[in-house]
């Protein structure tokens, strides 16, 4: 059974996080402090030892449900330091761990990649989108990666082309494909709208 189901055009579908009772230990990565998602997850107690990596302050009110003596919370100022810490933790730990990631899509797939790097399978990792639907975008023309794109059309920061942000998602790249929108009629750019709040 896979944790994600595909919608049309390979767009990932993110169910909300649920503690996996088949796991022996649990590692939760909070990329964005989303109070509602955390509250929902905490409606049931974690079934085993839990450690948390969070981007932001460990004292943030959203983390109150985790204020228990036996839960270790490590806080990180940036995504990069958090991902490095995650990679180290996964490299050191043993089978039986379940990985949960909560936050924006770009970060989710970085966590997924860290898991895959040490040979974790889909049934050991859960990803849940929270706080924003801003998309990671990959420019198919110059290979540039952009993050948190909120609009249907965006200018590639690599090659300056106007890209249409497609629903086609690549798990390998952890990004949506961006294609030049005015390739056939240069300069003809439809209205830019915020569609991924």
């Amino acid at each position: 059974m896979s944790a994600y189901t595909y919608r049309v055009r390979s767009q990932p579908n993110y169910p909300s996080l649920k503690w996996d009772v088949s796991g022996a230990r649990h590692l939760l990565v909070i990329l964005d402090l989303d109070t509602n998602s955390i509250a929902e997850l905490c409606r049931s107690p974690c079934p085993g030892p839990l450690e948390i990596l969070v981007r932001g302050e460990a004292t943030h009110p959203a983390l109150i449900p985790f204020n228990k003596a036996n839960i270790l919370i490590h806080s990180f100022a940036s995504m990069d330091t958090l991902i490095v810490a995650l990679e180290n933790a996964l490299d050191q730990t043993t089978m039986g761990l379940r990985l949960y990631a909560l936050g924006h899509e770009d970060g989710l797939w970085k966590c997924n990649k860290a898991g895959q790097k040490v040979g974790m399978s889909r049934d050991e990792i859960q990803l849940a989108q929270a706080s924003t639907t801003g998309r990671p975008v990959y420019c198919v023309h110059c290979g540039h990666h952009m993050n948190l794109i909120h609009t249907n059309i965006t200018v590639c920061t690599g090659c300056k082309r106007h890209l249409l942000v497609r629903d086609h998602f690549s798990r390998l790249l952890g990004a949506y494909m961006g294609f030049q929108i005015d390739a056939e009629s240069p300069g003809l750019i439809p209205a830019v709208e915020e569609v991924f709040p």
Partner: protein, 317 residues
């Protein structure tokens, strides 16, 4: 039925009491197809007028021009093994299926643990050979009744030097699954083949240690066990057949000239699934393919290993 071919028995060698190794080559002018690690073939034999179909793992190297299997003689459930041990001679020609792989290797792991019990060592040997070739990190645990049954161990030891562990029942030795599962890095996969009791103990220990199903791999060849005689009606073909107590439902259908689909003949692949129209007795499901819910629904049966306890079974075939 999967594609069939002839092979010639080029060598028969006794490995241990009741265990023989057979080497097959292609008939003159032909070549055997290559296979992947974990594959098996199904051998068709006729003993005392009764057809038998038994699956055996290929234990040789895919690079060899021949195929190798090892067969333990089993008294009751697998008549075909008696044929292999007593009737078959070097130079004989056999009818076999092309290789089928239902126990393939996942290549994304960081580490592999191979566990063999008794004659279940055969697919484990072919996996060990593949892992050694691909320079994967793996170790082998091999449990047998006593030292004399430790077959094929020289090959295994050479493939996994320093990482080959043996256990003798006679010495009260047994793999400590709890410990084995307790301390493995993320990305570890386990492959187990052996008697049902050992497979269950192994998989349960893995689950208890929090391992996900995707990292637990097992292979169990099931045999069509004997049971009560019953009547089967193939509704579409309008044929009524008596299934004798020592014949499998699949064999009986084939003997009657029906050609139901099948592949593994061991209750694992799902190919032979048949729809039940009605049944006036109890089911004896022995496959590992149908879910428990499907089994209790009385709507499906796997004729290769399962049967009913007397009465009449009507199938939509």
């Amino acid at each position: 039925m999967s594609a069939m071919r002839n092979v010639v028995v080029s060598r028969i060698q006794s490995l241990a009491p009741g265990i023989k190794e057979f080497t097959f080559v292609a008939p003159p002018g032909e070549e055997l197809s290559r296979f992947s690690a974990g594959s098996h073939i199904v051998i068709h034999s006729v003993l005392k007028g009764k057809p038998h179909h038994n699956p055996y793992s290929l234990l040789g190297s895919p690079d060899d021009p021949h195929w190798r299997i090892a067969v333990r003689r089993q008294e009751v459930s697998r008549g075909g093994t008696a044929y292999m041990h007593e009737e078959l001679k070097e130079g004989d020609t056999l009818r076999v299926s092309e290789p089928i792989n239902l126990f393939p290797l996942v290549r994304l792991g960081r580490k592999y643990i191979l566990v063999a019990g008794g004659i279940g060592v055969t697919p484990i040997l072919s996996h060990a050979r593949e892992m050694s070739r691909l320079k994967m990190d793996f170790e082998v645990h091999y449990a047998v009744r006593s030292a004399e049954f430790l077959v094929l161990s020289d090959e295994l030891r050479a493939l996994a030097p320093g990482r080959f562990y043996t256990y003798f029942d006679s010495e009260q030795e047994r793999p400590d699954f709890k410990q084995l599962f307790g301390n493995q890095p993320l990305g570890t996969h386990i492959y187990v083949c052996g008697p049902s009791g050992m497979i269950d103990a192994c998989l349960n220990a893995g689950r208890a240690a929090g391992w996900p199903e995707s990292h637990l791999h097992s292979e169990k060849f099931l045999a069509a066990e004997h049971g009560e005689e019953f009547t089967v009606v193939a509704a579409q073909s309008n044929v009524t057949i008596t299934v004798a107590s020592d014949t499998s439902l699949l064999d009986a259908l084939e003997e009657a000239g029906l050609n139901p689909p099948c592949l593994c003949r061991g209750g694992a692949c799902g190919q032979c699934e048949a729809e039940v129209v009605s049944c006036d007795s109890e089911f004896e499901h022995r496959d590992i393919f149908l879910t428990d819910a499907e089994k209790s629904s009385r709507k499906k049966i796997m004729p290769c290993v399962s049967r009913v306890k007397g009465g009449t079974l009507i199938l939509n075939i």
